[in-house]
Symmetry: C2
Subunit: 157 residues, 2 copies
Amino acid sequence: MSARVESFELDHTIVKAPYVRQAGTQKVGSDGIVHKFDLRFAQPNVTNMTPPVIHTLEHLLALNIREYAEAYDHFEVIDLSPMGCQTGFYLIVNGSAEVSEIIDILEKTLNAGLEYDYVPAATEEQCGQARLHDLEEAKTWMRYWLNQNQKDLEEVY
Amino acid sequence: MSARVESFELDHTIVKAPYVRQAGTQKVGSDGIVHKFDLRFAQPNVTNMTPPVIHTLEHLLALNIREYAEAYDHFEVIDLSPMGCQTGFYLIVNGSAEVSEIIDILEKTLNAGLEYDYVPAATEEQCGQARLHDLEEAKTWMRYWLNQNQKDLEEVY
Ligand SMILES: [Zn+2]
Ligand SMILES: [Zn+2]
């Protein structure tokens, strides 16, 4: 990462979504490290998620992925944010996580998300645009991800 | 941050955009720290940026804010990502930065953005949705930010 934008150096025409990809590491302090992961749901320049779907997934993922990450004591979640291109999310963790570990906590998070019959924190107090949600279509994307083979999700190209 | 979602605890009905807000800190390693900032452009639940504007701002900010951060040797940029609610961005830095320092580098980054007559890295190779950009409307939001008084940007409520 540092003074370049890693995603601008990824050839988006050859990746095969959905996948989880290690997208960079950065040293913090004398012995700390943060890892960044590219959680790609939609095929770049072919398909994308709608803004309400992205927003609902952001709420469900941000709320629950921290809890499932607690099963691992060598990393913790710093941030989960959508990509401006509407095809996925970036996950930033404190510590060294493996792609397979991220796939594991994401699967648990998405399975938990399917159980919701409302969008958590979708009020004008807690959210910047409370109307912009689509739980049903978000569940369609969650099921799409969960129907993938875990090994296939590790294959980026 | 850690096992809760800081933004769900912010009362979005009382903030006054635009502003820069310290949105959390997290320890990394034995002596490292990351700081997260809420760069709020649009008033929550009142207005929002469109997806092409968000995406163009993401490119221009991500590309240039790292360079302006290099003038400060006590922090560096880890990530800049849009909010799913379409009202702003989260900036994550390695090190302890002050709100005034973030306002300073953001102002320099936005001024640099106004000089562009194309969106950098908006190709199908470098970007996940190369068509989804709006440079002119993004410049309108950049000018809106730059027209603010720097001290007012530090006022959140
Ligand atoms: Zn929200
Ligand atoms: Zn892009």
